[in-house]
Amino acid sequence: MRTPRAAYPVTWRVMDMLERLAAAVWPSSFQRGLPYLMLLPAVVLVGLLVLGLVQIGDTSLRVLDTNTFLMSEDYTLANYQRVLTENFFATVAGRSLMGSLIVTAITLLFAFPYAYLMVRTPSSALRKFLLVALFLPFFIGQVVRAYGWLIILGNQGMVNEALGLVGVPPMRLLYNYPAVLFGLVQYMLPFAVLMLAPALTAIPNELEAAAASLGAGWVRTFRHVVLPLSRPGLVGAGLVVVTLSLTDFAIPAILGGGTQDFIANAIYDQFFRTSDQGLGATLSLMLVAVGSILVGVVFMLFGAGTLAMGETRK
């Protein structure tokens, strides 16, 4: 009996026992249902959000009675009419949309070389440094980082003090549109790099060597080989940056100082300042709609952004 025992170690015994137990609890005929069961938590979570959306839709159809501060009983489209006609909302929406597009363009422009260097450098030390530098800002929350910029860019901030040393009078660097865009780019850069890196890793090094041997210098290798092949990564990163900037709250609030509101800030004001939940709900739905349309258009143009290899020629 000794040899069989030696040939059947304790760990195997435990695993076999667990497997027998699992088979008793969960017969193999149930196996086909397992993937769906694992999908369930995610579906429940998303489902809750959809329920919330229905609730918001309901609220958006009621107007606030300013005398009683109660929502009206009847359904009306008055909120939608206000949002679509009043200049203030058009300004906020235009500012948010334009801002998110500018931020996306600048972020991708900065993120691409960063991701490329991180993926292609032969030095593992440099790669590690770039990765750590990328993750470090994640440990500092968005709000804290925005306050950091207040300290650096404020009227008595480091930048203005440094300018003062060379005789330049203090400049207003905060509470304007460029400050908000600057803050957003700085916030989005790590996301974009992290989305781009896997896409660039998927382009074999050999393709660039091949392009070189076929007569392409680095500019044309980049234009004809690297750029078209990194399109899925660029689309993915672009989508993430566009949607996150479009819906951002903290940076326009802090670096814009109330003068550069994005849609999320306007929604916040309706819910928590004027308590007009109906108007807030309407704005929320419009934001969801604009975001969805944007993503939908990108998906239609680039084929879900994942496998852009199989179609449209360059």
């Binding site: 074999p204 050999e206 393709l207 060597a209 091949a210 392009a211 070189a212 041997s213 076929l214 007569g215 392409a216 210098g217 044309r220 004809h224 080989v225 078209p228 092949l229 290899m309 199989g310 020629r313 360059k314």
Partner: protein
Amino acid sequence: MGVVDAEQPAVEPHDRIAVSVKDVSMVFGNVHAVKSASFDLPKGRFLTILGPSGSGKTTLLRMIAGFDRPTGGEIFINGQPVSAVPPHGRAIGMVFQKLALFPHMTAAENVAFPLKMRRHDARRILEKVERYLDLVRLGGYGNRRINELSGGQQQRVAIARALVFEPDLLLLDEPLAALDRKLREEMQLEFRRIQKELGVTTINVTHDQREALVVSDEIIVMNGGSIQQKARPVDAYRAPSNAFVANFIGVTNFVEGRVVELAGSRATIEANGLHLAGLAADATLAGGKPCAGAVRAEQIRVAPKDGHLDGLETVVDGLVVDCIFEGERVVYEIRVPQLGDVLMRVFDHDPESHLQFGPGDAVRLGWNARDMHVFAK
């Protein structure tokens, strides 16, 4: 040209040298990947650099292509030093190990790529792409995407792309290694046909000795970063310059011993008390020094124990250990007690006598003195 007119006779042969590698070395950190390699390759020849992995053959190829810069020595292409020229400035077509076709382009676009990069006339590009796709027998496949082509077809696109701009030199970096055997052998012949048809100077890198013998005009055998031998395939096979080459190309049996007598090209060695006659194949042989006698598996004849092996100078007794049927031949593994229980492999290509011996049978083996090459150890 006028300046060198006076030296015309001396310069003339250089015109026919496509690639000249002079004392080229490559050091990565403390690894000496290539140790002062030198060779000349005349125009229009097909050279194969053969060696095990880590022998430096791929490093040498990458230096010729321009991806790595030699740490010592110089490479000349058509007489011009090229160390300072980037890959895209050299007129070299290369077929990569993993082919490196552009997945976002069609077959025709891949082939057109080098022409577009070289700013050829757009109207002539189409016609040229067509011609080269025909050359690799892919006429009509131009509009296919790369992932719609089979492995062999992708190989052909890669060849067409490397040749379409009429490069000075074609480099093949083990492009056949990943193919299955039948397709590989077919593509070897295809490479040979295309190379002969276009007359393009070609350097191929492989660890497959059969491929080297089949496709090449010349073979360079490398080991440990050094060139071991440069010869025509038939010479590398028949007259290997050292024990490594003898072992790497073909199936070779080694009998270890000591040199007892050297007389011209004839060497007599003493192994386990037996005196064996062989061919001195190594200039460094000296009396009394340890040596190894190498005999090819197909040069040894086998007979039953009481049989005769007439005309063979060396005859020993052996015991069959294993008998492997490989289809077109049988491989016997035979233990030879007289030579210190050395295990010898012997091929039997005679279909009449297939499987005439089985494990445990006592047999007699013999070979000619001229078939045993003696190398210094």
